[in-house]
């Protein structure tokens, strides 16, 4: 097939930077035309790769024909191929959404494509050092992109993001060195095979905890998430950047978490640790989300919570929970991307970020309102929408455990914070707000909104399509799902109006509580020390 004749994976990784650099000096209109064709091509190529991986098994390409674990390799397997497809589809949708925005100049588009290249390379790379390099590239691109509008505290946000991630990457580099000294290879498969032959698993504790500290920071697990809301909710970040970061970039951390756990799996298994950590992250995330007033920050803290849920599912120990977590990665990319896009439009038109001052979105901008509300229904796990399917899978995978009660608490928290978020859709809009005329903005939002609905109605088929797992999901409108959701919704609304609206002073204090860079570094050091100690006690 196609893959036998041209190195498709290399094309996939290199095309964004090559096209971006060559078209950089073209006039903006022509450049955008080129990018439109390019975006479609990327979606097409990744669909082909996805198809081949599903039908023929994993695709591996080595540079210059060197053998396995010697050469630099790119790999697409059943874990990375759906994520690559998701990345390309979302980048294309975001590009079309934003094509008329005033700040969308050539530099911005070039940086955006550099980010796309770095993300694809992270998913496809078969070698830990390459992952390290492209993570640094992606980090620089993200740092510039979140400061792009140069508003208010943008330089502080960019600086914090850069310094914290630079610090984490130093941990990663040292861990990589340790692993290289022990195994002598940097290739994921090669490391996995070598680790299986090592007699003393304690020798691997230090590299494991060094690498996992860096990855947990990238995935924004508790207590290392403080950089995320700053970066994703930054006022100077264009809304498509927030959507990309929350939708796709955080998932790189989750993906690497799965990958590195697999690499170390013959010697070290810390899935219980990460399951508990995922649960704590999910709870802390929604508690902080409920206390925010800024709608972008509500969404950003909620990303923390959802990532915790995904990590809980992936480490739940059953295939049900694992594939539920994987499906939730894709679902979260869709509805959180959509929520950030619509929130950006709403902020631009209302001129405020405070949820209490935004009212009547449904009346003034119906398309955005409907699409945004579809995102809310998706994230809260309303039956018929995609979130319900993945949450159902995770919940079933954890059945009979304490974790199932935990799952209910997390779900309740999601509903609680989105009751707060949804208040802005209703009521009467202020007069200065104008309706939206841009067809791309409305169109793309509606398409992603329908995607959320389709992912729920055809949930079983989607899981079958993406991951090749067939599960009986009890139908999109199963009685169990409906009752659970009704109970959660009623409790959520009751708690919101009964408790949350009455403790404004306490929430204000939570918002005022800021951490500086030294405290973040201290948290990283504590996390590293704790993980190391835990592993020495259990391994």
């Amino acid at each position: 097939m196609l893959i036998q004749y041209i190195p498709t994976l290399y094309v996939l990784v290199l095309l964004p930077v090559v096209v971006g650099a060559m078209g950089y000096f073209l006039p903006r209109r022509i450049y955008q035309g080129v990018l439109l064709v390019f975006g479609l091509a990327m979606v097409g190529i990744s669909a082909v790769v996805f198809y081949e991986v599903r039908v023929l098994g994993e695709v591996i390409e080595h540079v210059a024909g060197w053998g396995e674990s010697v050469s630099i390799s790119l790999r697409a397997d059943e874990l990375s191929a759906p994520l690559v497809l998701m990345t390309n589809v979302l980048f294309f949708a975001f590009f079309v959404f934003n094509s008329r925005a005033p700040y969308m100049d050539n530099t911005f588009q070039y940086l955006f494509m550099t980010l796309q290249c770095a993300l694809l390379a992270m998913f496809l790379s078969g070698d830990l050092f390459n992952v390290y390099v492209v993570m640094e590239v992606g980090m620089l691109a993200v740092c510039i992109l979140i400061m792009y509008k140069k508003e208010k505290q943008s330089f502080y946000d960019g600086m914090m993001y850069l310094m914290i991630n630079f610090l984490a990457m130093a941990f990663m580099l040292l861990g990589l060195g340790y692993l290289y000294r022990i195994t002598g290879v940097l290739d994921f498969i090669g490391m996995h095979d070598k680790i299986a032959q090592i007699n003393d698993p304690r020798a691997l504790v230090l590299p494991y905890s060094l690498i996992m500290t860096a990855i947990a920071l990238k995935a924004a697990l508790f207590p290392l998430f403080s950089w995320l809301p700053r970066a994703h909710g930054a006022p100077s970040a264009p809304s498509i950047i927030s959507a990309t970061l929350s939708g796709v970039q955080v998932k790189v951390g989750v993906y690497l978490l799965i990958r590195m756990q697999w690499v170390f799996s013959p010697a070290i298994d810390a899935s219980v640790f990460f399951a508990v950590l995922g649960f704590v992250t999910a709870v802390v995330g929604f508690l902080l989300a409920v206390s925010q007033k800024d709608i972008k920050l509500i969404l950003a803290y909620h990303t923390v919570s959802q990532v915790g849920l995904i990590v809980l599912g992936l480490n739940g120990g059953t295939p049900y929970a694992f594939w539920g977590g994987m499906y939730h990665i894709i679902n979260h990319a869709m509805f959180k991307g959509l929520l950030f896009l619509t929130a950006g439009v709403i902020i631009d038109h209302y001129g405020t970020r405070n949820y209490a001052q935004i009212r009547g979105v449904f009346r003034r901008m119906p398309w955005i309102g409907i699409a945004g509300f579809a995102g809310v229904l998706g994230i809260t796990g309303t039956p018929l929408f995609n979130g319900s399917i993945s949450k159902y899978l995770i919940q079933n995978g954890l059945q009979g455990n304490l974790a199932e009660i935990g799952m209910f608490i997390v779900n309740l928290g999601t509903v609680l914070s989105f009751v707060k978020y949804s208040t802005m859709f209703f009521g009467k809009a202020p007069d200065h707000v104008k309706p939206i005329k841009d067809p791309y903005v409305n169109g793309v939002s509606m398409v992603i909104g329908f995607g959320c609905l389709a992912g729920g109605i055809f949930g079983a088929q989607a899981v079958q399509l993406f991951f090749g797992q067939s599960y009986n999901l009890g139908g999109a409108l199963g009685a169990e799902k409906l009752t659970m959701f009704a109970i959660t919704l009623a409790l959520g609304i009751g708690l919101y109006f009964g408790v949350v609206t009455r403790i404004g002073g306490f929430l204000q204090r939570v918002r005022d509580n800021k951490v500086n860079f030294n405290q973040v570094s201290l948290l990283i050091a504590i996390f590293f020390a704790f993980l190391t100690a835990y592993l020495y006690l259990t391994v």
Binding site: F129, Y132, V133, E136, M139, L140, C143, K152, Q153, F155, Y156, G158, M159, L162, M163, F166, L167, A170, F171, L173, L174, L176, G177, Y178, Y180, R181, G184, L186, K514, V515, N516, F517, N518, S521, L522, A525
Partner: protein, 114 residues
């Protein structure tokens, strides 16, 4: 003094850097501290599996005595990355210091407008 080898040295340097990042409130000093950590990691990788008496992996030498060339090739990349990220940090620091009139993390965090 057998235990003073390059791996322990670089591990020590790494934690010196980590201490600096935690304890120093001056922005420049934290940037220097992260650089120390980065340099420690690079030192660790270059000296990983190094045999005494080995020669640099340059064409013309005796292949059986050559040091492992892979870490050296990788670390050139890591050094370049470290330099560019440091440059970016310093450039951002200048903008931030002009805006908030301080180079103290604790003072800056209270002057940031939200």
């Amino acid at each position: 003094m057998q235990w003073i080898d390059s791996s322990h040295l670089s591990l020590g340097l790494f934690f010196v850097g980590l201490y600096g990042v935690i304890s120093q409130r001056n922005v420049i000093k934290t940037i220097i501290s992260i650089n120390i950590m980065d340099a420690a990691a690079i030192l660790f990788l270059i000296t990983a599996n190094l045999q005494p008496g080995s020669v640099p992996p340059i064409a013309g030498g005796d292949p059986s005595r050559m040091a492992d060339p892979v870490p050296q090739a990788l670390m050139i990349t890591a050094i370049v990355i470290g330099v560019s990220v440091t440059a970016m940090c310093l450039a951002l620091f200048i903008r931030m210091a002009h805006r908030y009139g301080s180079s103290d993390w604790e003072k800056i965090v209270h002057r940031v407008e939200d």
